[in-house]
Amino acid sequence: MKAVQLEKRLDGVAVLTLDNPHGPHNILSRDLFEEFRRVLEEIRTDPHVKAAVLISGKRDFLAGADIKSFFAMKEPSEGESLSREGHALLDLIAESPKPFVAAIHGQALGGGVELALACHYRLATDDPATALALPEVTLGVLPGGGGTQRLPRLIGLAAALPLLLTGQRVRARKALRLGLVDALTSPGGLKETAALAARQLAEGTLKPRRRRRKLLERLMERPPLRALVFRQARKGVLSKTRGLYPAPPAILECVREGYEKGLRAGFRREEALFGELCASEACKGLLGLALAMIELKKPLPGPQGRKVGTLGILGGGFMGAGIASVSLKLCPVVVKDVSDGVLGKCARTVWEGLSKQAKSGALHPFERDRLFARLHPALDYGDLRRADLVVEAVFEDLDLKRRVLEETEAVVSETCVFASNTSALPIASIAERARVPERVLGMHYFSPVPKMPLLEIVVTPKTSPEALATARAFGVAQGKTCIVVKDGPGFYTTRILSPFLNEAMVLLEEGAAVEAVDRALKDFGYPVGPVALLDEVGIDVGAHVAKEFGDAYASRGLSSSQALPILFEAGYHGRKNGRGFYRYDGKRKGRKPVNREVYAFFGGPKRKEMPAKEMAERLALLMVNEAVWCLQEGVISSPRDGDVGAVLGLGFPPFRGGPFRYLDSLGAAEAVRRMEGYAERLGPRFRPAPLLAEAARKGERFYGEA
């Protein structure tokens, strides 16, 4: 079987079907280029062929390029030549006198969109599965197949820039509105409709549909306004990425070059910068994560879990509602709580989430009704009797969690799995009085659940492999990236977060300003500063976790700062009660001011300048070092899981790839050197984990030689 099948029809339309014989997706690779070229040549030379249709034989149109091959690129010249070959191939389509129609159903990502852009007409199905995106930027590269040139030329600069710079998905109806596709049709008969369009294009009876751009939009594409647009875009990009991500400015540069010096020059620039980006550290970090996430979606070896026919959720708070929201497409969900007030709020959260999806076209409005009908608010445990999996999301209180487990066990079947959504309480102690401790594990979701991609699954020595498989398969089906970790104080994510946050408190005690600490960590690449994060999760939660953790690892010098419990006692709870390190009484918009009252708890209002780089490094190294401890103790089973957990759960700078990839790029020896310097000055908490010290001694990398 060939990856590109050619069917020459009697009506003069050649249908090219992309159908990768080696996997479920069509992927752009050099092999495909080769075959493509041959087929295109045949179309060019056959006088009977008047027009062509490009269609997929898979569920999706084209899922993008083979990113594994990007990962292996070490020199800029490698990416550059790949991009050049791509341009040459797509030019054969774009410059063909015979019209090409792209028939798009399912996802068209990256190279898939660029292939469609090279065609003369784009026909997409009006189906929730259909979506177009140029996600290259999220992988630290740029659309190297002409995307930065053909997209703005097709839909205009103002519409193209957001798509290129964020990689956002565009659904069928919006694609039509933007002019990204020329027409929509129904999924059935896509090939025939596309063939009809191709024939009509060849005959000249069908003209491609071009969106009329508003006057302002057209002015923006000409000098002098254009220069201003680019300047503004560049400023926006730099302030958002803090200059840490090379891809967005490179994309802007390509677009600008194309506007100023023409299409060919734009292509050349694309090739050069694509090559550079592919070889960059940031790209490797982001690609490593993407590849790890793909791996983590695959089922585990060993016993298969049971299918979850009904999910039970204990506690209809924000967390419970979030878990319900991402589960309704999988099965009916029973949410149990003590009052209809809470359950009503839970229903509202779910409904509003579904409505948002319905509005964006991700969900048919009728489908929203169908999903919402599967949400059953319950005041009685009896309603949980048919649940195959029960996730508790009640308050973080050990006795309460033990009690709800007991009460759940009284009604559910023997095989029902019980998961605790705790962020810090040890699962084994929750399961202490369980009748069937084998069924108990942790499913640690992150808030807000529909947005946060990570699920940390916590197993105790007693947890059965079946229970784990059930929970993990369900988590993957919810769309989560699941890492499986061992039970212990704070599991993995909370554990490595704890010394990080604690060090922020130490910095404040040393006299640093709140905004300076946060700025330093954002400049390092965290999306939110540690102090602002404490306000978000709640100072009470922070205090609780810090204590548990400080007690557990006091021998390593990780005693916790006393500031948090005192702050909490004084009525500072963080954002939820409007009193935290920042003030929340001001207007919604703009930057929130620091609440200078809190300095009273950190040695007075006088703050001093402290080197930002050092502040960021102290926090980051403590997090990284704790991650190594976790690997050494078997809390996580691989650097891959540690990296994915830290980035997806805690916002560890994605372009650094995670704690372990960061260590690899810094070099274990260098990390140890810096840490020992801090340990000398600041205390034993900076002492490198033995596994790290060993890696430094032996000159080893956590990821081997990749």
Binding site: P332, D340, L343, G344, W351, F366, R370, H376
Partner: protein, 434 residues
Amino acid sequence: MASGRFPGRPVVVVDGCRTPFVRSGTDFTDLSAYDLARAALSGLLHRTGLDPREVGLLVLGCVIQDCDTSNVAREAGLAAGLHPSCPAFTVTVACVSANVAFLNAAHAVASGQVDVAVAGGTETLSDAPIRLSRAMRKRLIASQKARGPLDLLRRFAGTRIRDLRPQIPAIADFSTGLTMGQNGERLAKRLGVTREEQDAYALASHHKAARAQRDGKLGAQIVPVTVPGSFRIVREDNGIRGDSTPEKMASLKPAFDKTFGTLTAANSSFLTDGASAVLLMAEEKARALGVRPRARLVSSALTAMDPLDELLLGPAFAVPRALDAAGIGLEDVGVVEIHEAFAAQMVANLKLLESEAFAKEKLGRPQAVGKVPPERLNAWGGSLSIGHPFGATGGRLIATCVQRMEEEGARYGLVAACAAGAIGNALVFERVEP
């Protein structure tokens, strides 16, 4: 007339439930009949734990049609999670719509065409379809063919002010032009049903319903409804007036005949929103699935009489036929559930069942059908107190009947109702011993 012992293989009721029945314009005012039916059906699936793929047929009753969801059973069934391959249709037979929906489904089961079916009904009277006048409708439809704005204007030329007045549907018989209330007045006057008798009957209905609500008996048949918008979770009927007194009842003015009338808002059923769903299946299928059958359908009667003079008397005509077909007498029936449209209608029907003259004249029987012992009748309240969402009431009657039969250890149960057009229905159930 269609009555007789129920043919074919035995059909059993496994479960029945309903949404809360609430006064129109209150909790469910923003919901449609489709929303209510969806809640009842998904509630039924949830509480029975039945695999939705087992359900082979869905039939719902609905009276006031919403043209967006004219086959409301289909839309609600899909949205509630029934399998797309489950056919669904909507029947409309006024206040016995759900009874007839149940009969349709039961026939399909009895004949072996399906093993498992769901029947019930749905109604919202909060959003009755108010139409433009015929004159305006004609112009609007014609205007779709208009060429250009001038032509459009021309087509609306000559519109009169009175054409703009909307048409509000009345609860009336088309053939007689009388509303149900007006005809209830005729009936009360003809049979000499007094205001006192009516008020006493209605008051008792409220008190019985209040007690059943307090004891959790109604709660056991209710599935909650989460209302998008307000996000209130509604779990209770809101029309029951347990605190009502004879004085309060007596203080109301007549509603239909202001000068000489006896029917008031308090002794008539009120406008209600709600839905019901009943799970029925072949007895052998229930055993195969391991679910407990509660009651077997023994016989049924569907009658129709003169819409002017015999309206609201459905039970009096249908009950004897269904009992005869079952081969039992009224005295054998432990549980009686009769739809209470008006207190006057209830008193009238009970009188006629006891009347030898009526039996001889109208039924061609030598003796009266019999007396319904008050403690066996509507022991948990009825439409007067719980409410009457037209298309859904039959499902409530059936669910209540089988639930009561079980609790009261009755061997036979009887459901009866009247409907516009002088249609009557009666169903006889026999308890299935576990």
